[in-house]
């Protein structure tokens, strides 16, 4: 094990004077620097990457956040914002000695304007909370990542999060109207405006998905959309993944506009049915396809029938329509709980994220099956089929070094295949630490160098969530204690 890796595992404590200054800003109990507390912050939901921060600071409002950022900037300490830690690309980690700014306490919905259909929120508001608050006004917040019951809107902004409904309603970028941001040196600005047509330079749009490395959003104005008048949820069971994917391609080609098209394969179905998320999914099917259409009551029965007609052509084993809201809720509970259900299969999991052109979906899934066969690793699949966004899910035991190595190798093969098919390395999880090396296979050197220069324009000192989202300088990956479970021999 290298000395850098060893240092990152132990962590590097913050200087006592700096910790005391931070405590003066946020209060004594809001600065965590004991090993037990820090252990909870050494990774996000991608446990492959771990690095213990020097401290975790929990500001309660914008002023505290700004004061902390100014202090850290003056001290030259790297820092990163973190929401609920549900990120899946190792995005909310700091190098040894760095500081995590945990924004979960900034969780107030500041204003909800039903007439103009927007809400102003702090970054720590939980995604599903906003929809709950908007529902009495006949509105909702559309982006719905699987972790929406816990993930925060600030984290969603940083990663440009998606979710099943993004097929119709678009990603987080299509819903962020305006953000009050704290720059790396503590200056505050407002980017964007009251409508999405807001500026000549779209700094708001550039911020969304910048993985917390351009600025920290301290307040966000989000667009809300009306709750649909009618909804129809269809569940088709198919003999195999290929048939489900072909059906998806035909629905898209027919010009239909469902709100979501989600596929789960046999392994995912069985994991769900063996868990608390049990939804009555057919365990004998090779794949299920969930298609939901929403809109005016006058249109939905016919639109649902058109979708059913297409699915019928692909010879489903079963085709059902949710008869009532409870049945619909059960289907979605199964889909959104699938990630959690698969977490029960093994001590560790890797949820991959890649995108292909929609017409190549069946082809990439055939390739995933080939990788599964050749690698001997069980892969479960649940994905946003309508967007061509796949999520192969590896359940494995990282204590088995060889198995962990093979998981990463298999995941890389699949991502490279996505690129070969004209796709992208990430549809909604971001690059983080997970894919920084592979990014050089998606973008050419001049484009990557341009990204680095633009980043420096916003953060010349390179302190704000450094070394994420772009290929790392040599040695940095080691500093983040990469794959330590199998590299340092602690199996």
């Amino acid at each position: 094990m290298s000395s850098a890796a060893a240092a990152s595992r132990r962590g590097r404590p913050l200087a006592a004077a700096l910790a005391a200054d931070l405590r003066r800003i946020v209060g004594h109990r809001r600065v965590l620097d004991d090993p037990a507390s820090l252990a909870a912050y050494e990774s996000d939901a991608l446990t492959l990457y771990r690095c213990r921060p020097g401290a975790v600071v929990l500001p309660g409002d914008r002023d505290e956040l700004v004061a902390c950022v100014r202090l850290l900037h003056r001290a030259g300490i790297p820092f990163a914002a973190r929401g609920a830690g549900t990120g899946l690309s190792g995005g909310a980690l700091v190098p040894p000695g760095g500081v995590i700014l945990g924004l979960a306490r900034m969780d107030r919905i500041l204003e909800l304007n039903p007439a103009e259909r927007w809400a102003r929120v702090e970054p720590g508001v939980v995604n599903a909370e906003l929809s709950r608050a908007a529902a009495p006004h006949g509105l909702r917040y559309a982006p719905d990542p699987a972790s929406q019951a816990v993930c925060t809107l600030g984290g969603n902004l940083a990663e440009n999060s998606g979710g099943p409904q993004c097929f119709l309603h678009g990603m987080t970028a299509q819903h962020v109207l305006e953000a009050e941001v704290v720059l790396a040196d503590g200056r505050c600005e407002r980017w964007g405006g009251p409508t999405l047509e807001s500026d000549d330079l779209d700094l708001r749009g550039f911020l969304v998905g910048s993985e917390g490395s351009v600025a920290i959003a301290s307040e966000i104005r989000l667009r809300l959309v009306p709750l649909p008048e009618a909804v129809a949820t269809l569940l088709g069971a198919f003999a195999d993944l290929h048939a489900a994917c072909e059906a998806v391609a035909e629905v898209v080609a027919a010009g239909l506009r469902p709100v979501a098209m989600e596929v789960m394969d046999r392994r995912a179905i069985r994991a769900v049915e063996a868990s608390v998320y049990r939804a009555g999914l057919p365990t004998d099917a090779g794949a299920v396809l969930i298609v939901e259409v929403e809109g005016p009551a006058a249109r939905i029965p016919e639109e649902a029938a058109e979708v059913e007609e297409i699915l019928e052509r692909h010879r489903p084993l079963r085709l059902e329509r949710a008869a009532n809201p409870a049945e619909r809720a059960a289907i979605w509970k199964g889909r959104k709980g699938a990630g959690g259900a698969m977490g029960q299969l093994a001590p560790d999991s890797l949820v991959m994220d890649g995108v292909v052109p929609r017409s190549r979906l069946a082809e990439i899934m055939d390739f995933v099956l080939r990788v599964e066969e050749e690698s001997g690793l069980p892969i479960a699949n649940l994905f946003h089929a309508g967007d061509g966004n796949i999520h192969p899910h590896f359940a494995y035991d990282a204590r088995d070094r060889e198995q962990a190595r093979r998981v990463e190798e298999a995941a890389t093969r699949i991502l490279r295949r996505c690129l070969d098919l004209g796709g992208s390395l990430s549809g909604e999880h971001g690059i983080g630490l997970e894919k920084e090396e592979l990014l050089a296979e998606q973008f050419d050197p001049p484009t990557l160098e341009l990204m680095r220069r633009v980043r420096r324009a916003f953060d010349p000192a390179g302190l704000l969530n450094p070394d994420k989202g772009l290929p790392l300088p040599r040695g940095c990956a080691e500093a983040f204690h990469r794959h330590r479970r199998y590299r340092d021999g602690r199996a």
Partner: protein, 326 residues
């Protein structure tokens, strides 16, 4: 002052050569298309030469399965509409007919009557090829409908009026055309009852608002009635022409259109779904520096203070496109 020279390369390589030569000579260029939007979006621009990319006018491909297309920046919106329409598709942005190019429309930032339904024009661009002010070329985004890999430089460049990068080629998302379109007209007061309109607008000086619905047998809102498609299309074109003729526009939450003092959407016409109205010169001048609360008035009086920093980041050492920012 002499009229700037017009450089009109026929292809990307030639464009890159011209930009490299200009950078070496310290000469200021401003990328443009057919220069139909400059009066509005860059009236102060005094480059030493225009770099017109109107010659990059080839529709390279239209993929009906993936509903995407690859076009040169010099293709006109009308050419793309015709080619995509033959395949049952359309661009999710409906621009005023200025005779200009797609590159110009996306860089402007131009109004689109489909913003309220599909989002603003920049949401329709999946990937693009760019020329930086030092002559180097970059490709941003990905050719898929969903990608968060790397920084979203596409969004940063679109709407920058060509001052950060010149657009060579666009990969655009296309949408299925409405399968069962229903044009209708009725009172603005009950328009909120309409089922998911694709378009909702008031043409200039018209008695009723107009909507385009999809897949429903009737409007289903009080006072609304079906109209012939050609009547609806003529009303739509009248509003687009009003946007094209106006020197500016105001953008605000749709619910505020009627409440904004000094704005008369009935006379000027308005995009009721997107919350946009054309602005005559007197109102534009009055509002450019101090817009009404929660409104954006375009073109803005001043550029973002980030422009100069980003110009330096995009092409260090080269004279920035458009000259030093104002």
């Amino acid at each position: 002052m002499a009229e700037p020279e017009l450089l009109a390369p026929a292809g990307s390589e030639e464009a890159a050569d011209l930009v490299r030569a200009a950078a070496a000579a310290g000469r200021t260029l401003l990328p443009c298309g057919r220069r139909t939007r400059l009066r509005r979006h860059a009236p102060e621009a005094r480059p030493e030469a225009w770099l017109s990319l109107a010659g990059l006018d080839r529709i390279e491909s239209i993929d009906t399965e993936d509903q995407t297309c690859v076009v040169g920046a010099g293709v006109s919106p009308e050419e793309l509409a015709a080619a995509a329409g033959e395949r049952g598709l359309e661009l999710g942005a409906l621009f005023p007919p200025t005779g200009g190019t797609l590159g110009g429309a996306f860089l402007a930032p131009e109004v689109s009557l489909l913003s309220g339904f599909f989002g603003p024009p920049r949401d329709q661009v999946l990937s693009a090829d760019w020329l930086l002010a030092d002559g180097s070329r970059v490709r941003t985004g990905a050719r898929v409908v969903k990608s968060v890999a790397g920084y979203d430089l596409t969004r940063l460049f679109l709407g920058s009026r060509g001052r950060l990068a010149a657009c060579l080629r666009l990969v655009l998302r296309l949408r299925p055309r409405p399968r069962r379109p229903l044009w209708c007209a009725g009172p603005e007061a009950t328009a909120a009852e309409l089922p998911a309109p694709r378009l909702l607008f008031r043409p200039p000086n018209a008695a009723e608002a107009i909507a385009l619905l999809e897949g429903v047998p009737e409007p289903g809102a009080d006072g609304w009635h079906p109209i012939e498609a050609d009547v609806g299309e003529a009303a739509r074109d009248a509003l687009l022409a009003a946007f094209a003729a106006a020197p500016g526009r105001i953008c605000l939450p749709p619910a505020r259109l009627r409440k904004t003092a000094g704005l008369d959407p009935t006379a000027s016409g308005a995009d009721l779904l997107g919350g946009q109205a054309p602005l005559a010169a007197d109102r534009l001048e009055a509002w450019r520096r101090r817009p009404p609360a929660d409104a954006v008035v375009l073109p803005r009086a001043r550029s973002s203070p980030w422009l100069a920093r980003l110009q330096a980041a995009c092409a260090p050492g080269a004279p920035p496109f458009g000259g030093s920012s104002r």
